[in-house]
């Protein structure tokens, strides 16, 4: 028998020890709440981060560890280089600076939003290697398998004298990041907005945290989910009426997630008016995996909503949430606790429906928000907009959809995955296309797969101003294609429809026009919206909602 090769079994712990010793030798021992003076942050980062490390620079959908990100970008590329970033969102200019300044060269992420164009340019210049664009849950999953961070740089609201952290309403990704890092020999550094003697609650225990630094200004939070009702159009009202009557009511959808666009904001604002008139209160939209959308306030106040679990918070909503603790998940201290990993899990497995929008859809129903010259990723849509085949528990909506898709003897149900789009975007860009830009983007990225947001075989319904296509009832790829063309309006692919086949699909109820649903498009006016301005939302909230100044025009 061969003797086992001798090896050390605690190299991660040894490496961690050496990093902490380097910091201590510079006088950065992290005494008093593991506190590091703000002007020593670069010394600390250069002491504990090594070339080739995997680093999670907490970039959430909303909350950003912006001070730590800017500080890392200011470190010497001679000392720190070949970093591999593993983080859900790459939203800040300083995130991209890390690649431009030669500190990092590899990225695994989910969403890049505003930095999408700079990212595409770096890929073309071969200065960045993209591992993959993940769903959130997929990336969090990999934190616990093959992408565990060596160092996590996170953002917290407050630290106490021992180094316990309070995360505030924007908990977001922090628990997943810290758990993976702290329990696999990694280093956790937190920027905090304030130091308190007593925290409102402890979200991260002190012994999972190595260093804290008081940031010069509070961490940045993007108001990503605020949609001004004043911008909702009559076409969006029409599509919302169709969705409510033709999908929500027919399937009895009680557990759901909404995308963040104006299309779904219109639905939220029609619940207390149009949906209530249809007698749907208590029958639809009771349980949500959703950020605290201000446009949901009227539906909450009207008694439609029983529960909302949130991925993150939203600027200006904190006081309202605290005052509605029956609806939102809040701590004994009164403030909300969000959690992206758990809410995404709810969105994947516990929701009966996802409804959202896209920029492009092809004739197989594949959709993508990736367009040429921009690598943006997809946020929460790919998790929630997919039918989880492992689901076991039944609900009326899930069973009805399953029977439509697989026949009356189906042994499983089906999630409703609804794409809601006006057939043309602004500047007459058609949403329905023969080929997604994602395929060209794949070539320019050198990626193994095109960046598709929602796979066509997961989509159950498409809602446009022309009607609803129920893809569950299609029995062949040809029927599916004509069902999509049949609601694609006056786009080139819509005009190329087989008219006889589309009329046949309409006779079978696979395509339904507004008149088939008993909806007169001329009644689709903004008067149906429960709130027509941000000020209306404030009024509905009893003055508890405090919108950011850019949404105030009074």
């Amino acid at each position: 028998m061969n003797a086992p090769l001798p090896r050390d079994w605690d190299t991660l712990r040894q490496s961690r020890g050496r990093r902490l010793e380097r910091a201590a030798s510079l006088g950065l021992a992290g005494k008093n709440g593991k506190e590091i003076p703000v002007d020593r942050i670069i010394d600390l980062l250069e002491a504990v981060i090594q070339p080739g490390d995997r680093v999670c620079l907490e970039g959430n959908n909303q909350k950003q560890a912006d001070f730590l990100s800017e500080s890392l970008a200011d470190c010497s590329p001679e000392r720190i280089n070949h970093l591999s970033l593993v983080q859900s969102v790459l939203a800040l200019p300083s995130h991209v600076d890390l690649f431009e300044r030669g500190l990092a060269n590899r990225l695994d992420f989910s969403f890049s939003g505003p930095q999408g164009a700079r990212l595409a340019k770096l890929v073309q210049e071969q200065r960045i290697e993209i591992g993959a664009i993940h769903t959130y849950l997929e990336l969090f999953g990999r934190y616990f398998l093959d992408l565990t961070p060596n160092v996590a740089l996170i953002a917290a609201q407050a630290a106490d004298a021992e180094g316990n952290l309070y995360l505030g309403p924007n908990t977001e990704d922090t628990p997943a990041i810290v758990e993976a890092t702290a329990f696999k020999g990694g280093i956790v550094i937190a920027q905090v907005n304030e130091r308190l003697e007593k925290l409102p609650r402890v979200d991260v225990p002190a012994d999972w945290v190595d260093f804290t630094v008081l940031a010069p200004k509070p961490n940045y939070i993007e108001p990503l989910f605020t949609r001004d009702p004043a911008q909702i159009t009559e076409v969006q009202v029409l599509m919302a009426m169709m969705a409510i009557k033709g999908i929500y009511a027919e399937y009895g959808v009680t557990r759901l997630n909404h995308g963040i666009g104006f299309d779904t904001a219109a639905i939220e604002l029609l619940l207390p008016t149009y949906a209530a008139d249809l007698g749907l209160k208590g029958k639809i939209c009771t349980h949500w995996a959703l950020n605290p959308h201000p446009t949901l306030i009227p539906a909450i106040e009207a008694g439609f909503v029983e529960s909302v679990h949130c991925f993150g918070s939203e600027v200006g909503m904190d006081a309202y949430i605290s005052a509605r603790s029956d609806i939102f998940f809040t701590g004994a201290d009164g403030s909300m606790r969000s959690n992206r990993a758990f809410s995404q899990t709810a969105g994947l497995y516990a929701c009966d429906m996802f409804i959202g929008s896209t920029l492009q859809m092809d004739m197989a129903g594949n959709s993508s928000t990736a367009t040429l010259g921009r690598i943006t990723g997809f946020g929460g849509a790919p998790n929630m907009g997919s039918d989880p085949h492992g689901r076991r528990h039944a609900s009326p909506a899930w069973l009805k959809a399953g029977r439509e898709a697989y026949g009356p003897n189906a042994i499983r149900g089906r999630k409703l995955v609804v794409q809601m789009v006006e057939t043309f975007r602004e500047h007459m860009a058609p949403v329905f296309v023969e080929e997604l830009d994602a395929w060209k983007l794949q070539k320019s990225m050198g990626a193994e797969l095109p960046p598709i947001m929602i796979y066509g075989d997961d989509v159950s319904h498409i809602v446009t101003e022309e009607g609803i296509a129920n893809l569950l009832l299609c029995r062949s790829p040809e029927e599916r294609e004509q069902a999509i063309r049949g609601v694609a309006g006056f786009t080139p692919v819509g005009m190329a429809r087989d008219k006889a086949m589309v009329e046949n699909l309409r006779d079978r109820g696979i395509i339904r026009r507004p008149e088939d649903l008993g909806i007169d498009p001329r009644l689709a006016t903004r008067d149906l919206l429960a709130a027509r301005s941000v000020k209306d939302l404030v009024r509905w909230s009893g003055g508890l909602y405090a919108p950011p100044s850019r949404f105030r025009n009074w």
């Binding site: 159009t233 009559e234 043309f424 602004e426 500047h427 101003e465 006056f490 007169d520 009644l523």
Partner: protein, 104 residues
Amino acid sequence: METLDFRFDSAPVSRAANPALCGVVGSGNLEILVKAGDAATICQISIKTSARGFGETWRAVLGSFAAAHAAGGTAIAINDMGATPAVVSLRLAQALAEYQGGGQ
């Protein structure tokens, strides 16, 4: 700026009240004026649009409107600021209803 003129066959409008004005000239929107035309089975439409090069799309959208509605005997003037076909179709339906005196 582009000017387009179309004439479509359409069933005679059931009743005509006063000329009707619908919509606003704002970005992504349009203004529609419906008044009496000169031939009972023709819907005559003239368009001033800020978006050039969409003549065939206009023809398809308006042709579909004239086929789906009884709009013969009308002359329709449109001032467009880049409205999508969805908005155009909705506004036309609203404007025709108003022209017939029924509002909604």
